[in-house]
């Protein structure tokens, strides 16, 4: 009993501990890719769509650091240029689902009763439907392109955010300080904006960060299936698919590097999310 207590105190995260260094490293990786997404097109050594039929499947060299693909396009340039497309779609998914989800969660938690039951029930229905399948279905109906899958995924990711935020919001709403504000006559909007939302902020941030990794994976999968980004866009999921035939030709670099980029970003977002959760929510969780 006592030793368990001490063990918990001792493992309390503090700056400089290995777990925090992991979080920091994950944050740096995320930061780097966000930077590439913003400034990538200015940094590429070659035009990402410039073909070179005499130089296909080239290995790494001074001019092409990661080699070239089946059309002789520079892989490093394509990876960098593709960061924007690969990150923008999940960013939209997470922005929409987080904003809507937090709002829904607050409304459900605040008013309770039938409204809460309706929101929770509706979300359970959405939750029961796999997001990726929904996105593929929508893409199949509305035609290829990222818009339809992004809309579908935004809806599919709603329950992930809303469920967690709703239960936290119910807890928060029932704290006496909210009653005290109501008794003082504080307008509901003020209580929401000045008190509830800032207190739920860290949780929302953590959920959004972890969700981003999954959303990126889903968007890449849709593009891999040929329903999202279309050639010759250098989107990562699409690059994995484009590179697949070349693997048999002994040139796995396109699929490999694009897959590694996806892996790196997803893992980085996940580690950053869990690290933030430990730091920001540690005392509550």
């Amino acid at each position: 009993m006592t030793s368990a207590l001490f063990a918990r105190t001792a493992s309390k995260p503090r700056a400089g501990r290995p777990r925090d260094r992991v979080t920091l490293a994950a944050g740096c990786v995320v930061g780097l890719f966000v930077f590439l997404a913003v400034c990538g097109p200015l940094l590429v050594p070659h035009a990402p769509n410039a073909v070179d039929p005499l130089n296909v499947h080239a290995g790494p060299s001074a001019t092409h650091l990661l080699g070239t693909d089946d059309s002789g396009r520079d892989l490093l340039s394509r990876l960098i240029a593709g960061t924007r497309a690969s990150l923008a779609a999940p960013a939209v998914v997470i922005a929409v689902s987080t904003t809507l989800g937090t709002l829904l969660a607050l409304v459900a938690a605040w008013f309770g009763g039938w409204l809460d039951r309706f929101v929770s029930g509706a979300l359970d229905v959405v939750f029961g439907f796999p997001g990726l399948i929904m996105a593929v279905l929508v893409a199949a109906v509305f035609g290829a392109g990222l818009t339809a899958p992004v809309v579908a995924l935004s809806i599919a990711y709603l329950p992930l955010i809303t469920r967690v935020v709703r239960s936290a919001a119910i807890k928060e709403r029932n704290l006496p300080y909210v009653s005290a504000l109501q008794l003082l006559g504080a307008p509901t909007a003020r209580i929401w904006l000045r008190h509830l939302l800032p207190n739920l902020g860290p949780l929302v941030l953590v959920q959004a960060t972890i969700g981003f990794g999954y959303a990126l994976l889903d968007v890449a999968a849709i593009s891999f299936l040929g329903l999202g980004s279309q050639p010759p866009d250098p989107e990562w999921g699409l690059m994995v698919a484009n590179g697949a035939p070349s693997i048999l030709a002994g040139a796995p670099q396109q699929s490999l590097y694009a897959g590694l980029a996806i892996l790196l970003v997803v893992v980085a977002f996940n580690l950053l999310g869990t690290g933030l959760s430990r730091r920001l929510l540690g005392e509550q969780a």
């Binding site: 006496p176 300080y177 504080a186 008190h195 207190n199």
Partner: protein, 274 residues
């Protein structure tokens, strides 16, 4: 000033508060005493407007305060001024000092927010008013600039009292407001409340299970059991000469000097003793 008539609250089939009637005079101090589940907190929450009454009336200075939260909310949508006017009638201090303040808000800011809701003041006079309130409850500048987690339970409860007083309420309800505090801190807070009552004329309504505290702070007391009032009268009279068996039991259960803790033994264990 406060009149409660035939107040009733049902949760499904369960009657939590049954036909509760009492009044609290201006500058008065009344304690509602009872064990957990006796309906005393529900009564307080209905009076404050945090809970809807199933029946009965709550009047402040002869004016119906409305049947509670749901209807209140509808009216609030029309007039937020009325909401604040209700805030100037009744304020409440809650039991748990750890969650009755917003953990992200500095104590001074919390009090300032409460003041600003009720008085339009220029920045310097707002600051002065906040300082005055914090001074009244015995908090200094350093504590005003602190987040709640940096303060002790007693200090947080002082801050909560200052926030409630910002509305200059006619009635202050204290829902087990000292129950979570150390005995010595309890005494400090009770003294503070008595002082505030004397200085501002705020009537106090104590919700408590602590008969010792009641003796020091209240003029009158009523005893609730299972949602009903079983005894009502001046504190000295009730404590000296309890009429109802439940009140006698409550009084008998208070540890006194010479009190020896005794475990209830089961007969088998008692038989084995030499």
């Amino acid at each position: 000033m406060l009149e409660v008539r035939n107040l009733r609250k049902e949760f499904g089939d369960f009657v939590a508060v049954d036909d509760v009637t009492f009044s609290l005079p201006q500058r008065g101090s009344l304690a509602i005493v009872g064990e957990s589940g006796s309906g005393k907190t529900t009564t307080a929450r209905m009076i404050a407007g945090l809970e809807t009454a199933s029946g009965g009336h709550i009047l402040v200075e002869g004016e119906e305060r409305g049947p509670g939260h749901k209807r209140q909310r509808q009216r609030q949508r029309l007039r937020s001024g009325e909401r604040r006017a209700r805030g100037r009638q009744i304020q409440m201090v809650f039991q748990d000092p750890y969650s009755s303040l917003d953990r992200r808000q500095r104590v001074g800011a919390a009090v300032a927010e409460a003041v600003a809701l009720h008085q339009r003041l220029p920045a310097d006079r707002l600051r002065a008013r906040v300082a005055e309130l914090l001074d009244m409850v015995g908090l200094d500048d350093r504590q005003a600039a602190a987040l709640p987690k940096a303060l002790s339970g007693g200090q947080r409860q002082r801050a909560a009292i200052a926030r409630a007083l910002a509305a200059e309420p006619q009635i202050l309800i204290l829902d087990e407001a000292v129950a979570a505090l150390d005995v010595s801190i309890q005494a400090q807070i009770l003294r503070l409340l008595a002082d505030i009552r004397a200085r501002t004329g705020t009537a106090l309504l104590f919700i408590t299970h602590d008969l010792g505290a009641v003796r020091h702070i209240s003029d009158d007391m009523l005893v609730m059991q299972a949602g009903k009032i079983v005894e009502h009268g001046p504190v000295a009279t009730v404590l000296a000469d309890p009429q109802h068996p439940y009140t006698r039991r409550l009084i008998a259960s208070v540890p006194k000097p010479g009190w020896i803790p005794r475990r209830r033994m089961d007969p088998a264990a008692a038989a084995r003793l030499p």
